[in-house]
Subunit: 335 residues, 2 copies
Amino acid sequence: MARNNLTAKGEVMSVDSRRPRVGVIGTGAIGGFYGLMLARAGYDVHFLLRSEFEAVAREGLQVNSAVHGDLHLKPVQAYRSAADMPPCDWLLVGTKSTGNAALGPIISQAAAPDAKVLLLQNGLAVEDQLRSVLPDSLHILGGLCFVCVNRVAPGVVAHEAFGAVSIGYHSGPAGDEASRMAVVEACSELFKTAGIDAPVMANLQQARWQKLVWNVPYNGLSALLHTSTSQLMTDPDSQALIQALMDEVVQGAQACGHALPPGFAQHLFTVTQSMPDYRPSMYHDLVEKRPLELEAIYARPLAAALAAGFDMPRVRALYQALAFIDRANRSANEE
Amino acid sequence: MARNNLTAKGEVMSVDSRRPRVGVIGTGAIGGFYGLMLARAGYDVHFLLRSEFEAVAREGLQVNSAVHGDLHLKPVQAYRSAADMPPCDWLLVGTKSTGNAALGPIISQAAAPDAKVLLLQNGLAVEDQLRSVLPDSLHILGGLCFVCVNRVAPGVVAHEAFGAVSIGYHSGPAGDEASRMAVVEACSELFKTAGIDAPVMANLQQARWQKLVWNVPYNGLSALLHTSTSQLMTDPDSQALIQALMDEVVQGAQACGHALPPGFAQHLFTVTQSMPDYRPSMYHDLVEKRPLELEAIYARPLAAALAAGFDMPRVRALYQALAFIDRANRSANEE
């Protein structure tokens, strides 16, 4: 573990600047996978857990990866409370976007004074929401994960394919473009030295729209139709529906000023066809009776596109159907 | 029972013209309800059954009606095969529209030479399909049932609300408008004397579009979201989706030359709000792993509207989602 030192100003700094301290807020499939990969590369990684604390403290973290083989981290620097975590230089946030409003005090407690917070979530404007509950001194970065991971048991993650994280600067103390890019480059470097592809994104908003072209059809339809990508990709009707939804998201992005590369939707469609069978997170959220991430993935993009003059009728219909099952699912959970 | 007589021409006629013989093809919820109501009014009614023959032959037909009380018909003139039925003056067809292509020989065997066939199904162009498999000598009428009925056990139907059948002439030997209206009026009279409201429709096609304004949202969403009308009518998102789907169907009808009365969709919406809780037939078809009536209720209206220059994007998305679950449902049935 890196030792800490109090400076004259009372700030807590890492002694070894080449070994930054990383905190993982929300050690589910995403946080568990990337956190373990960084720890494996030698970084000083601390994991905040809730329901799985006991299991991980006792058994460690396990990633069964189709790419990297079976990986095990034990012991794990695991915490029940952010107040017990040492100040971290980097914070990877892998919680559900449905809980972002409550993240302010948690992140602040675990953050070094000028920490960089990388938000590993899907959807639109998730960083804006986090910004409103964090001090100005913290950098916020957005990270888009192109990875197929699932939590299969407490502390056990199945990594099925891919792994890249695209990173962009959102807001914070970096005043000019050069400083912002320096932070993003440092973050990218962190992942790259852990063997993870980490492209730098010049335009975070555009990248979030690009990710939505995948998430809107596949996350929603996997939950609504209770199915997986390979089933969706072998049925002619769901194929046509996916393409129509993708086209609407591309037009929504365009209306919001983000012209996506030509053929981008078709590219994602083709990639998904050759991907191993996968059940996106929204499917698992539904089955495990967690709230669905409808605000970030549907409601905000719909509102943004509508404000720019473009309604997405099929996306809205899908959203309304999902909102219905989400409400029924939550009340079932309360029973 | 009315006795039959061979005329000089060899045609089989009912002796008592005021007591027509009625055959019910498909004794499910619809056929069972209307057939029992007609038998109760004194008509000579014969029921064709398949899987429920034994139960109905033994126990009779039961309609537990919220409107008329508990009704029981026993013995029932029940048949396993149309070949065993006496020639019927009227044939009420209450089978699923998914089986229409196979109805030709069945109806022909049970029909008196100039029989009137009343098709009690939802969807578009169901009569066209039947016309192609029936001899020209038979009249085809279309009937739109505004009734909440469900088959709850073999030979047992729950009648929850309403009951009207709107009737229009489709095709057959009636050469001019006056002859066509005479047949429709006679059919209407048949039902009215049995205590069933039976308005005459001047325009069958327009009436079918009007019925679709209800069937498209409620049948499909009850199956897709695995729910009932009252749940759909208390959730703000499903309410909005229902209204958007209704609006599209109204526009589709308009494109096809059928301008529906102003406020018609809102009227249906309001009626459904005050209706007892109801699970439409498509819900039951899904649960009981029967084919869904997607061709008549979705594919044909979509094709007709598109041919007239109007796509119905939300209706198409709903159809594609239903086609996916229908396919999965049928293959589950084969397992």
